[in-house]
C-alpha cells in the first residue's frame, strides 16, 4: 500500500476526523463560491416575474374642456404604450367618455366583457350595442340584456394639467366580476 514512492498524506490526527473536517471545509468553500454566482443568476433569470407588477401606463384621452359639456357618451382612440421587455409599442384602443352629470365623467373600455368585440354607442337608441352577439348596455354602461355577464368595464382615470388620462387595462371575459388580466 504505502510504497516508498508516495509522500505521506497525513501526519497527525485520526484519518476519520481529518476527512470529515476537510469535507466540511470543501462544502463551505464550494458553497460560498457557488452562492456568489448562483444568487445573482437566479435573480437575473427570474426578473420578469417581478417586473410585471409595473403594469400599464397612463394614456392621454383629451383636454377636460372637451368633455365638460357632453350629453352623451363619446368615443376616443387612445394610444396605449405597452412595454414588452426592452421594447415598447403603441397600441390603439377605443374608450368611451361617459358624462355622469354635474361635470363628472367616467371612462369605459370599448371591449365587450362577453367576448372582446368593440361595443358601439348607438345615439338613436341611447344605448351601447355590441355588434357581435347583441349585448346591450345603458348610457352609463350597465348591462341591459344579452350574453355579457357584467356591465361594461370602467377604467381608472386621473386629470393632470387639465388633461384627462386613463389607465387602459384588459379584463377577463365571460366572468361576472371585473378581473384585470396581468
Amino acid at each position: 500500500m504505502s510504497t516508498s514512492s508516495q509522500l505521506p498524506e497525513q501526519q497527525s490526527a485520526p484519518i476519520h476526523e481529518r476527512r470529515s473536517f476537510l469535507g466540511a471545509l470543501f462544502a463551505i468553500v464550494g458553497g460560498v463560491v457557488s452562492a456568489t454566482l448562483a444568487v445573482p443568476l437566479i435573480r437575473f433569470a427570474t426578473y420578469p416575474l417581478r417586473a410585471t407588477a409595473g403594469g400599464t401606463s397612463w394614456s392621454d384621452v383629451g383636454k377636460m374642456d372637451e368633455f365638460t359639456s357632453l350629453t352623451a357618451p363619446v368615443a376616443r382612440t387612445i394610444q396605449v404604450e405597452r412595454v414588452d421587455g426592452w421594447r415598447s409599442s403603441f397600441a390603439q384602443n377605443a374608450v368611451y367618455i361617459v358624462p355622469l352629470g354635474a361635470g363628472k365623467l367616467k371612462v369605459l373600455s370599448s371591449v365587450c366583457p362577453h367576448l372582446g368585440c368593440t361595443v358601439r354607442w348607438v345615439d338613436k337608441q341611447g344605448q351601447f350595442v355590441c355588434p357581435c352577439h347583441g349585448g346591450i348596455f345603458t348610457e352609463s354602461g350597465a348591462l341591459v340584456h344579452g350574453p355579457p355577464l357584467r356591465a361594461m368595464d370602467s377604467l381608472q382615470t386621473k386629470v393632470e394639467n387639465g388633461m384627462l388620462k386613463v389607465r387602459f387595462e384588459y379584463f377577463r371575459e365571460q366572468v361576472s366580476d371585473k378581473e384585470p388580466m396581468a
Binding site: Q6, L7, L22, R43, R82, W86, S89, A94, C117, V122
Partner: protein, 488 residues
Amino acid sequence: MSNTKHPATSETTKANPAWVKWLDRRTGIRSLLHEALDEPIPGGARWAYVFGSGLLYLFLSQIVTGIFLTLYYVPSSDHAHTTVAYISKVVSSGLFVRSVHAYGASAIIILLILHISQTLLYGSYKGRRDLLWLSGCVLLALMLGMAFTGYLLPWDEKSYFASAIGTNLIGEVPLIGPPMQELLRGGMQMGTLTVSRFFVLHVFILPGLLFAFIATHIFLFRKKGAAGPIQEDPYTPKLPTQGFYPRQVAMDMVASLFIVLALALVAHFLPIDLGPRANPADTSYIPRPEWYYVPMFQWLKIVSGRWSLIGGIFLPAFLALLFAAIPFLDRGRERRPWRRPVVVASFVIFIGSYVALGVASHRDDASDPSVASQLALQNQAEINYMHQPFQAQATSGTTSAALATSNPLVTKGATIYEAQSCSACHGENGTGTAAAPALVGIDRKYSADQLAHLLHHFSPKMVQGGMPAVDLDPADTDALVAYLRSLK
C-alpha cells in the same frame, strides 16, 4: 495511475450512507471519483499548480453567465445595444452578471499568462507532455478568439470601432485576408450580419471547439501525468507522488475562491460600462482595444507603412509558431529555468516588450493633448450613458403609417373604424381576418364616392357575408372613407 488502494477507501466505505451505495451500484460513481481525485502528483501539491483548475473554473463561470446573458440579449445591430442596456440598467443583478462575464474574459487572460509562465519556467512542456502543450496553444488561440468576438456584441461605440479595426487587420493578410475579412463581417462593411456572425462564433463554434480541446488537454494531462517540480524528469517521472486529493484540491479550491471573490468584488464595486450605441458615422471617435490587445495595437502603429506586412503579420505569425514549437526545439531533460537561458530569456523579453508596448501606448495617448481630451470625452460619454435611465426601444406596433401622417380626417376615420367594430372582422388596420376580407388597397378598387355609396348600399356579397349595417352621418362616412382609402 491509481497505483494502489487509497488508504482511506475502506474507512470511508463504512461511513457511506445507503443512498451513496445505491448510486454507486448503479453508476460506479465512487471509482469515478477516486479516478478523478487520486491523480498522483510527483513531488506533492503546490500553489504553482492552481492556475489550470482556476482557468477551468473561470471557463465554467463564463459558460454559465453567458447562457444567462442570452436570456435577454438579441444578436442584431438593431437590438444588441438596447438589450445590453436593458440587462445593465433594468434586469435584477444584470449589471453584475454582465460585469462578471466581461471581467471574466480579462481574468482568463491573466490566468492564461500565469499558467503559461508557470509551464514555461518549470519546463513542464518537455518530454512526454509536448502534445499537451500544443493542445494548450490551441486553447490560447481559441480564448483570444472568444475575447475578440465577445467584445463586439454590446454594439456600443467602443466595441464597434475596436472590432472594425480588428477585422481591418485581418484584411491586411496577403491573399486570404480580404475574403476572410468579408466572410467574418458578412459583407464589406460592419453591420447586422457581423453581429450575427460574431455571435455564432462566440456562442456556438468557439465554445464547441473549446470544450473539445479542454477535454483533450485534460485527457492528455491525465494520460501523461502531472509534470511535478523542476527536479522531476520530463520523460520518466521518478519522484514520490501524492494524491490530487486532498491537498491539491484544497489549494485549487482556495484559488478559485480567491478568483470568484476578486471577480465579484470588482464586478460589484466597479461594474463595467456600456457606452452609447455605435454610430458608424462618428468620425471623431478614437478607438482603443481592450487592454490585452493594446500592446499589439501599439506595435502595429510602430511598424505601420513599409514594414506593416512583415512587422504586423509575418512577425506575429512567426512568433506564434515558434511559441507552439517550443517543446520540439527545447528537447533536453533539463527543466531548471536557470539552465535553459534561451527559452526563459526569450519569454521574459517577450513579456517585457509586451508590457513596454502597453506602457508606451498609454504614454502616447496621454502626451497628445487632442487624443487625451477626446479619450476623456469618450470615457465621460460612457459614464453619462450609464447614468441615463433605460429607454425602451419604440417599435411601430399597431399604429398605422396613415395615423402618423396626422391627417385629421383619417385619424377621425380610424376612431370610427375602431368604434364601429369594423376591426372585429376586417382586422386591425384593415388587414383582414377569417370573418371578412382585407380592406388594404381598397383605394385602387373604389373611388371615395363609390366607397361611401357602398357603405350604405351593400353589394350582395357583403350582405351574404353578414356585414352589419353601417349607421353613420355623411361627415363620419367621409372620415371612414378617408381612413379606408389610406390603408396601404
